[in-house]
Amino acid sequence: MTTQEKLVGYRRDADSHPPLDSPGYGSTALRHPTQPLTLLPHRLTEITGPLLGPGRVGALDHDLTRQHAGEPIGQRIVVYGRVLDGDGRPIPDSLVEIWQANAGGRYRHTGDRWPSPLDPNFDGVGRTLTDADGRYEFVTIKPGAYPWRNHDNAWRPAHIHFSLFGRSFTQRLVTQMYFPDDPLFGQDPIFNSVPEHARSRLISRFDLDRTQPEWALAFEFDIVLRGRDATPLEQSHG
């Protein structure tokens, strides 16, 4: 059987992303490919992707302050935004996963040896699905900064890890959201690995209008996944 499918691929966006070889971030040294990448034209496997539904998300998964008997210590914040594609179209019903350190900069992870206390009321893990307009919202506490050993007196700026699926394998993205005006940006090689013109896209915006009076501050973080090519690629299959 011969079929003729019109596949609409996704625009390439290499200029938005950090180079895999980023010498300031020591762990990249032995973990970046040295051979050039092979161009993969988008076919069915790349333009499809997992559609992970409501079964993945529990009722309180979006509220990291209500997952234990007591409340976590720290500054309560609402983190909200939209997941859009590169053409400004909302991406609905799409899984968003987050994880983060507690208010003292400590992760609930056996590998984290930073001597700041764990918070018995905070796991630092959240999940939600975007709504029909691509909106998501988490309630959490503001994560702390923490030291790491990349260079002398290295500190990670406060950040929340985000994992997005979008609608296709091609749109898969894992990133980190930062907070405005962090004085630690200048010395952080992970943040600065991103091309300078694109760094501001990783910084959330303080939003007074969305604060909850006498309860929580609010930060807006829109996430843009790749947009589609303007014209379908004709691919002949025999």
Binding site: R12, L20, L30, R31, E46, G86, I98, F191, R201
Partner: protein
Amino acid sequence: MAELATTPSQTVGPYLHIGLTWDDGPYVAPDGTPGAVWLRGQVFDGAGEVITDALVETWQADPDGRFDHPDDPRRSSGWRGFGRSDTRDGGYAIHTVLPGALPGQAPHIDVSVFARGLLHRVVTRVYFPEHTYVDDPVLASVPSERRDTLIATRTDDGYRFDVRIQGERETVFFDV
């Protein structure tokens, strides 16, 4: 419509396990599925050391070569097609069934690897030794001396597919 610039990628860091692992993550096919196999492998760095803080994600068609997705004109129903496994025990393991061939392509699984030290995922493909590749356009685009880095090997309970991020026999990675 105005074009929006993509949000940049960042590393998953060393603590990805708390956020990105699921109990059923490795099970593309549930336990007891007839014909299911284990796809296992290790991820190596440029010094040949095993990377134990990586996450491997897989995306594949069902045995008829279909996806449960609106962009697949032959859409299947209820096929998850997605697996994820971390490497804290020294390797990853995905329980699945072999994908079918797609129009014009040999059966394959798309793979993303995330890890501390990877500022962006790297993407590769798994092919299977039972199939012939003469007509597969992706394999044909890879230099012949590197093609075997994309082909799994048979094991007692399925297949093995190692990923070498850097160095000798470096895996072919794709610009998607």
